[in-house]
């Protein structure tokens, strides 16, 4: 063991705080540097690759196009990446790392903003992964005698980005609001199912579901075109399930006592 290297008395200027970019980098790193995070990312990759592999076998030769591989690969990511977003928020409380995080960055809103930026970047990166996986699938289709055509509707790219970003932000919103890992994950995953069960049972919910059930309002994003009406319904559903939880969750996180 050595002695303390730096003199504690050294006079120095107060210094500036970490930049938003630095904090985002830190949060990106924290997404992948725990065992749970790493395995979740690996699982997402494996499931996406697995789905494409299945497509190579089950789709008719003529249907094996780039688009046919790209779209289905979005689903597992859209389902699991938000869980990573939830963990990034709730892990701070369940693992109690908030004590360290907020000791280093006491302005908590900066940490939350960095977390949001990090998961948005992760969601955008996931679209690139979907593209890559679809490309590999297309090449595999060609090699195995499928069509393997590179037809791709470029509209799908921004739609896919909106789909993933909205999903992951919704996850973080639930995480911020509930601040409890199992509760947030279960709520997030069950919500669409609860909607479909309820609207199947209750006639009166058919109408509102078209505006509020995100599994319905997000559906057009996976098709070729989104109409103005569909954008409107998507916006309304996201206001309720994304913006409100995010805002309420931010307030709760800023106020909560860390212990």
């Amino acid at each position: 063991m050595t002695t303390l290297t730096a003199p504690a008395v050294e006079t120095r200027r107060p210094g500036t705080g970490p930049s938003a970019a630095r904090l985002t980098g830190v949060e990106l790193r924290k997404l992948a540097d725990t065992r749970a995070g790493r395995w979740l990312l690996i699982t997402i990759g494996l499931v996406a690759a697995g789905i494409v592999t299945v497509q190579v076998f089950v789709l008719k030769d003529a249907e094996q196009t780039f688009t046919a591989f790209f779209t289905p690969s979005l689903f597992p990511v859209g389902l699991l990446l938000p869980v990573l977003g939830i963990l990034s928020v709730t892990g701070e409380w369940s693992q109690r790392t908030a004590l360290t995080t907020f000791a280093l960055v006491p302005r908590r809103h900066r940490v939350v903003a960095a977390k949001l930026a990090a998961v948005v970047l992760a969601a955008l990166a996931s679209v690139l992964v979907s593209l890559a996986v679809a490309a590999v699938g297309t090449l595999a289709a060609r090699a195995t005698g499928g069509a393997g055509t590179w037809t791709f509707d470029w509209h799908l790219l921004p739609y896919a980005a909106v789909f993933q970003v909205a999903n992951v932000l919704m996850g973080v919103g639930f995480g911020l609001l509930l601040l409890n890992t199992p509760l947030a994950i279960v709520t997030y995953l069950l919500l669409p199912t609860v909607w479909s069960i309820l609207s199947a049972m209750i006639e009166a919910l058919h109408g509102p579901a078209r505006w509020l059930d995100t599994s319905i309002t997000m559906q057009p994003l996976l098709g070729a075109d989104v109409t103005a009406g569909q954008w409107g319904r998507l916006a309304v559903s996201l206001l309720v399930w994304l913006v409100l939880p995010l805002v309420a969750g931010l307030v709760r996180t800023l106020r909560r006592e860390v212990s």
């Binding site: 008395v9 540097d33 360290t100």
Partner: protein
């Protein structure tokens, strides 16, 4: 420099901390003493901006904690060694903090070495660490930004005797270089060896604060006689209030001379007569905080 002014924290009807004020000067180690549930951790969390006080405030390095732009470079904080992500390696936990503070990456290895966590330990997940290893990791984390102030909550918990001895040396060295240290403990013996000042808290209030030597000096006299019963009567007659120790001696709130005089006049044979020192401080600590730990705050 840490300045705590009239800090109060209430949870509904329960008052966890009431009007706590003290200062920690550069170059000193302040021991923050009190039984479990006395309000030590709540006070420290309020100093570090984790808990909003009901009233009062605290400043570290001249500013409220939340106003410090990069607090890790000025203040090293260890509020709970268990508060680490179980799935992260020790090295990674430090690397993330170094990245946040903008500290040179090489400091990670240097600080791990300083607290005695070797390569193998650094590569293991924190979930597999013993409490003592977590304390060392927490200390490495607190020292990572080369701060001038250290705020440590029960840092000796889980450390073995060698570890406690090592930590005392480290904190003493830190203070001797002009650093400010505030460390809490529920064990008097743990802090009296290293602290210059003691702040004793019980039931959320400061019950005593002074330089350690001053508190030790005022700790009274320990006296023992061949005839216990006669000694008790003599002390009572002389108006010297004494409390019986567990080993047959008496602790008297008076100077040894006064006690000796009383014994001599009664013709008693004393087998021991000395300033009580730390034993007395312990007795004082117990009386000052009596009853508090038995009805420990539950919230």
């Amino acid at each position: 420099m840490i300045e705590v002014e009239h800090l109060t924290k209430r949870y509904g009807a329960h008052t966890a901390v009431e009007d706590v004020s003290f200062r920690c000067e550069p170059g000193t180690v302040t021991g923050f003493l009190g039984p479990n549930g006395a309000g030590k951790s709540t006070t420290m969390r309020m100093i570090c901006g984790m808990t909003a006080p009901t009233s009062g405030g605290a400043r570290v390095a001249g500013r409220p904690y939340r106003d410090l732009p990069n607090p890790g470079r000025e203040i090293g904080v260890l509020l709970d060694a268990s508060a680490q992500h179980a799935g992260r390696t020790g090295r990674e936990a430090l690397a993330v903090a170094a990245l946040t503070m903008g500290v040179d990456r090489r400091q990670v290895a240097a600080k791990l070495d300083l607290v005695g966590l070797n390569q193998t330990a650094a590569r293991r997940r924190v979930g597999a660490y013993s409490l003592g290893m977590r304390q060392r990791l927490g200390l490495a984390l607190a020292l990572l930004g080369d701060p001038r102030v250290l705020i440590l909550d029960e840092p000796a918990n889980g450390l073995d005797p060698e570890g406690i001895f090592w930590m005392r040396g480290l904190l003493r060295d830190f203070a001797d270089r002009g650093g400010t240290v505030l460390l809490s403990s529920h064990l008097l013996r743990e802090v009296e060896a290293v602290a210059d000042r003691l702040v004793v808290i019980g039931g959320g209030r400061v019950v005593a604060q002074a330089a350690r030597d001053e508190l030790l000096a005022g700790a009274g006299t320990l006296v023992r006689a061949r005839d216990q019963q006669a000694l008790r009567l003599t002390l009572d007659r002389a108006g010297l209030a004494g409390t019986a120790g567990t080993d047959g001696g008496f602790l008297v709130r008076a100077e040894p001379e006064a006690v000796g005089q009383a014994a001599a006049e009664a013709g008693l044979v004393l087998t021991e007569l000395r300033p009580a020192g730390s034993g007395g401080l312990e007795q004082l600590f117990l009386t000052l905080t009596a009853g508090v730990s038995t009805r420990e705050a539950v919230r």
